[in-house]
């Protein structure tokens, strides 16, 4: 583990998973995936207050999941494609591993079913 651990930025990952643990923040990310938006625009899309939206954006920004622009007072938020890719890659890798294993189990179950049917006859 130690060799691998050195390559990981644990704090950043904690922030990322924390940011993704909230359904509103995930919904905001989905919204931003289709294009950048300002706090005002997000407040209109979601039935929550402007300060609440700002707090969620701050969490997402700290996790490196989004980037806030600096166009005068607007500060539109947009998704940070690289960091989203990192998390998705981990989850996908994990899922693939389980799926490979369970496909093997599918085959074993099919064999066992045949065997048990035959033994009943």
């Amino acid at each position: 583990m130690s060799a691998i651990k050195g390559k990981l930025d644990g704090k950043r990952l904690d922030a990322t998973f924390f940011a993704l643990s909230d359904p509103t923040r995930r919904a905001i990310l989905v919204r931003l995936a289709s294009g950048e938006a300002t706090v005002k625009e997000l407040t209109e899309s979601f039935a929550i207050s402007q300060p609440a939206i700002s707090r969620h954006l701050k969490v997402l920004e700290n996790a490196g999941l989004i980037h806030r622009g600096r166009v005068a007072q607007r500060r539109p938020a947009r998704i940070e494609p690289k960091s989203i890719g990192d998390v998705t890659a981990w989850l996908e890798r994990y899922r693939d591993l389980w799926e490979t294993t369970y496909q093997r189990l599918d085959a074993v179950l099919a064999d066992e079913l045949t065997l048990r049917k035959r033994n009943k006859e």
Partner: protein
């Protein structure tokens, strides 16, 4: 067969894996508790074998799995204890993984729908940090992932 696996993180400390199997629950239950069947599928990634698979399916009974990398001889193991067994519906265990801190509570459920089983496994880690580590490495509940492939992933990230 289109049994797709679903992996989610219902809370900061949990990972939930759900899947459907085309077999009745008693058989899927056996496939998770009888060593002679478990050894046939819980093999880890390609290039790994499972030389140790011991399961004492009684409340308070213990289990031990060890995987072995056939190329370089590395080994990875987990050991646990059964807290609850209601065959063929539900198993709760507590386990530790080699090289990982803390204990993980693993709840497995088998819901029988006639010819198929809706299967869920919930891993409750002792901290969010441990869970994220497990997600990163894939080293959870016997999934000994190749470090080489992890390294590839890290290099790409």
């Amino acid at each position: 067969m289109s049994s797709t696996i679903n992996v989610t993180t219902p809370s900061d400390r949990e990972v939930l894996v759900t899947r459907k199997f085309e077999a009745p629950a008693p058989l899927v239950f056996d496939a998770h508790t009888k060593p002679e069947i478990v050894k046939r599928w819980l093999l880890g990634p390609p290039g790994w074998s499972m030389p140790v698979c011991e399961i004492d399916v009684t409340v308070g009974g213990r289990y031990r799995y060890v995987w072995h990398n056939d190329t370089d001889g590395r080994e990875f193991g987990i050991q646990g204890q059964f807290l609850e067994i209601s065959a063929p519906e539900r198993i709760v265990t507590v386990e530790t993984m080699d090289g990982m801190p803390g204990e993980t509570t693993v709840t497995t459920t088998f819901e029988d729908n006639g010819d198929e089983t809706h299967f869920t496994i919930t891993m409750l880690f002792d901290s969010q940090k441990t869970r994220d580590m497990a997600l990163e490495t894939g080293m959870t509940d016997g999934m000994g992932m190749s470090y080489d492939r992890l390294q590839d992933l890290m290099n790409r990230a």
